[in-house]
Symmetry: C2
Subunit: 197 residues, 2 copies
Amino acid sequence: MRADARKNYDHLLAVARDVVTEQGADASLRDVARRAGVGLGTLYRHFPTREALLEALLRASFDELTARAGGLETSGSSDDALVSWLREAVAVARNYRGVVAAMVAAIADPDSALHASCVKMRAAGTRLLARAQAEGMARTDIDGADLFALIGALAWLGDQPSLAPRADHLFGVIASAILTNRGSSDVRRERRPPARR
Amino acid sequence: MRADARKNYDHLLAVARDVVTEQGADASLRDVARRAGVGLGTLYRHFPTREALLEALLRASFDELTARAGGLETSGSSDDALVSWLREAVAVARNYRGVVAAMVAAIADPDSALHASCVKMRAAGTRLLARAQAEGMARTDIDGADLFALIGALAWLGDQPSLAPRADHLFGVIASAILTNRGSSDVRRERRPPARR
DNA sequence: ACCTGAACACCGTTCAAGT
DNA sequence: ACCTGAACACCGTTCAAGT
């Protein structure tokens, strides 16, 4: 990439981060170009679709999430591993308001710039779920696609101002539905040992 | 209302039903007016906001839902009543694509034309939940606002083409999380007596 | 009372023209 | 190779002018 192009690319991405943080995933691309002091065509040249821009904004988070899944796969308790990763996955999907809609649309569209990241994410979740299921810690009537859908639902919840206050609590409720033999309060506490009576 | 105005109102509503069915809750209002063969200002006169239009489209469904809750409040089993109503509430929120976002926004905005309907809906759910909780059939760490949020999340799930196939199954999963001492397969089967072994 | 549609300020996307 | 910005086809919303 030519030096001036590289500079434009980096600057656009930095500006986009601000604008998408402010306005959400369907931020005005015109506004991004304007604030970056760049022609509208330049933005489209570097990011041919909105998804391409979002993918660039989220790449690092997705990579961290995948790495995290790898670490958790060999951790002590398969149920805690699943729940911890689930929480982080929801956090990634909430990185920018409205991005979760793009993610769930991308998982069914191989042409989307977000497709690969989302498939990888779903696969990572599926592995952690399968391990928990094999150890009898998670219900066996759900699969990776269900898990991905629940991540989406929880991220969506958190994106709605009127529902966001319940998001953490409902994470516990839903996590408790996934796990076997565990109350939601245990989920919230990440299974700290109960106080002695 | 003058006769010509009444006619416009009714026709606009009928056309809007088609357009919103096709395009979802953020359908083009211009398109509605155009297809109704009416000036754009006429649409705005009758429905000053998008929410007012959606409210008119959904009123009948909301009324049915409220009536249904009344009937279920005195039904035999409080848990089945809750789950049945929950299923219908999700169906109402899925009546038109994208309408669930307007509903969750409206619940926090007293000025929204959809506010009253949503508050009524939440109240109806709260009563059914409270009864089930009093009888020990539902977990006691959730309230009406949580229930409303879960309805929203399930309706949103069903609105996403890539997740919709899981919507029914995940309804069962989440319903099982709300109820005490009941598996999700029982929820799906509405507690038909188990086959004799 | 009610209706119309132009006017305004925005979009996303494309692409000829420039450097 | 890369950048620019006008052009096009859309929006939502308002409001002066008409009947």
